[in-house]
């Protein structure tokens, strides 16, 4: 129902990107993935676990989705760069969702380290999709160093607080020359619809789906919300007014008081 969009020359039909964190098992992930219609999915890199059962890559391969590795858990540009290089080696993709966080309470991006890492990775040939704050200036700096998209947060990762500063997201969208993907903060379907209505090209969701009581139903709901937001945005919303504007005409209104005839 939505039209495709393009990041770094790759056309994506689905405007919902699925984060795979938080699913209780691979079966639920596979079912939610199908319900979401996503064709791009994040994965993280961690030490090989000798006791792990099954690989998430098998789930994603079976679903026919592309892997978008991330640098989750990195606090410095250096760690993020090495992690991105490991991801390229492991998955054969030069796409990277770049996360460089500032602390473990807020998980907010560290702007300084983020720009440093983004610039180095672009120079190293990566297609860099940075997780960033909702700061329009930082988004522009990331675009200036060559990022292929910007991914501002609506609110902190996993908070489910929705889009706390829609005005900033609008400004990011208006001034961006690359796709804008709302990343983090989506708590439910209406948040995803709102992101698209604000002009975002796509939405990335993980916890909203994976930690929902029924992840498959939420994946479906958010997919439909993205489509709803897309349709509404294209339809052109009415202007906001502080006072009412009647939709029913006054003309022809019957008069019941004979004295005023």
């Amino acid at each position: 129902m939505t039209t495709p969009f393009t990041i770094a020359g790759r056309q994506l039909s689905s405007r919902l990107i699925l984060g795979t964190g938080g699913f209780t098992n691979h079966e639920v992930l596979a079912a939610a993935l199908e319900a979401s219609g996503a064709e791009l999915c994040t994965v993280a890199l961690r030490r090989l676990d000798p006791a792990a059962r099954g690989s998430i890559l098998d789930v994603l391969d079976a679903a026919g989705v592309e892997v978008l590795p991330n640098t989750a858990g990195c606090y410095t540009a250096r760690d993020a760069i090495i992690t991105a290089q490991l991801a390229r080696e492991a998955f054969g993709t030069d796409w990277i969702k770049l996360e460089v966080i500032g602390d473990d309470r807020t998980l907010l991006p560290d702007a300084v380290e983020l720009v440093t890492a983004a610039e180095a990775l672009v120079d190293d040939g990566f297609v860099v999709l940075p997780y960033t704050t909702d700061d329009p200036i930082l988004a522009r700096r990331l675009e200036d160093v060559g990022c292929a998209a910007v991914m501002p947060l609506g609110s902190p990762i996993g908070s489910g607080m929705g889009i706390r500063n829609p005005y900033n997201i609008s400004i990011v969208v208006e001034r961006a020359g690359v796709p804008v993907i709302l990343d983090a903060g989506v708590g439910t379907a209406s948040d995803a619809a709102f992101a698209i209505e604000l002009g975002c090209d796509a939405v990335l969701c993980a916890s909203a789906i994976s930690r929902a009581h029924d992840p498959v139903a939420m994946a479906t709901g958010i997919r439909l919300a993205v489509e709803a937001g897309w349709l509404a945005r294209g339809a052109g919303r009415i202007p906001r007014r502080r006072y009412a504007e009647a939709s029913t005409p006054d003309e022809g209104l019957p008069v019941f008081d004979s004295a005023s005839q």
Binding site: L45, R46, R47, L48, P50, L86, E89, A90, K97
Partner: protein
Amino acid sequence: MNVSVTVNGDRRELPAGATVASVVASLPNAPEGRGVAVAVEGEVVPRARWSSTALNDGANIEVVVAVQGG
């Protein structure tokens, strides 16, 4: 003559001449093909160089795979 290295945080004694390839092969659950990468001393070692990269005494080796996240 052995070398003492750290693999994913665990100390291991390996025969001298041990390579990245032999370390990865020794790990249970290591993916056969795509999906695994190795850093030695904070530098990525491309798969094509695993068998020719010998490990020095004290080397720190990280072997990573895909997990759910993000």
